[in-house]
Amino acid sequence: MPENTSLTIDADNLLYLMLAQPDHIRLMNISVMKKILQSGCTPLIITVNQPQKVLSKIYAKEGIGPDQYYVIDAVTRYSGGACTPGPRVKYVNNPANLTDLGIAITELIKEIPDQKKCIMFDSVSMLLIHIPTATASKFLHFVVNKLKLSEISGIFLCVDKGLDPVVLSQMSAFVDRIVDFDLPGH
């Protein structure tokens, strides 16, 4: 059952599943990103939603510079956009390419020099466009295990009621907390 509490990222390397209404999912991304930075963690954003180029402008508008986070971008190539190489970004051909996505996560986790890291997955609901729920569940289990072994925090963004009941119950077992996203100021 989701807790109706605000997100607190501490040093305990906790894993969260954060749920929001579809119209709040973008706000949730920014809000979670700020919380990660406030906690002193270095965020690694896995985006299957918005291209890195657009994401960087959205973050810049919120005062978050490109040197403050790392990105695994699974949609720029998918959109036919140009992939600007950089030390803080890795591109994956397609959100359905889970093998490459897994490799990119493993590699980038190793490359981030900072001690405290936190992964933000945006979003589980968008991933389901590309792969069946059962496959998504297996992949998320793989990511969760990787994070636990590497002692890294992780936050999975998802639309409320956007998960198969079985996947949700499996995710409940994988993650430490399920949190309902509250709009700031509400």
């Binding site: 579809p22 918005q50 180029k53 956009g81 389901l128 466009i129 639309v159």
Partner: protein
């Protein structure tokens, strides 16, 4: 299908000079009731086994029971019921050892081919000439189970459609709305807008093909529903 056919054959044999050597005849009644009981016993569309509760041996079996179990009466009579119709181990008989009330309970029998046949089973105690017997009656519910499985499969596909189409479409709607704001803000160049439009276009194409695939799977009689989902739907 095979077992039903087998049962029909046996039933027909029973109606035309079937050798009467069963429990009913041995009971020794001579008032004409035997023939009536034998006729009912042979023609009723329910499998019936008469069991000695002390030895757990089968004393009599009607043609439907023979058909469902896939063994002849000769094979069944004298055999221990654990070997054929009841998965309980010796000493754990649900009726005589566990004292359970077995009335219209879903169980399974293992037929001669080793197949598990779902049945609805009732066990009643009956006394004759001072001796107690168990009358075990059961009906084949394989068609009902198949219909239930089909229902679960359809709910699974419906659920998958919801997760992989409706929710993403809602997200895309929000995304396009945000994109409309981006266009007018002047903060994003045409490539930013094009990329996002292309992602939405690709995603819509992906959702359409997912729906096509799911509806194709729903039409086909597929049974690869994850066990956890089956359990979830059954719990509801």
């Amino acid at each position: 299908m095979h077992s039903t056919h087998h049962a029909t054959l046996l039933r027909e044999q029973g109606g035309h000079g079937r050798k009467k050597t069963g429990f009913i005849e041995k009971a020794g009644k001579t008032d004409g009731c035997n023939d009536v009981f034998r006729m009912v016993f042979d023609r009723i569309q329910t499998g019936i086994l008469i069991i000695d509760p002390q030895t757990h041996t089968i004393i009599d079996a009607n043609p439907i029971a023979e058909g469902l179990i896939g063994r002849t009466k000769t094979e069944l009579v004298g055999s221990v019921c654990h070997d054929f119709v009841c998965p309980a181990k010796c000493g754990q008989c649900p009726v005589t050892d566990m004292h359970q009330d077995i009335r219209n309970i879903e169980r399974a029998i293992i037929n001669a081919r080793g197949e598990k046949i779902p049945i609805l089973k009732t066990v009643a105690k009956a006394e004759m000439d001072g001796k107690e017997y168990l009358i075990e009656s059961f009906i084949d519910i394989i068609d009902r189970k198949k219909a239930e499985e089909r229902k679960v499969a359809l709910i699974a596909y419906l659920n998958e459609s919801m997760m992989r189409a409706r929710i993403p479409l809602e997200l895309m709607q929000q995304g396009l709305q945000a994109l409309a704001g981006m266009v007018t803000s002047g903060e994003y160049d045409s490539e930013d807008i094009r990329m996002q439009l292309q992602i939405h276009a690709n995603n819509i194409g992906q959702v359409a093909s997912t729906l096509e695939e799911l509806s194709r799977q729903a039409v086909e009689d597929r049974d690869e529903i994850p066990a956890a989902f089956r359990e979830f739907v059954s719990r509801k």
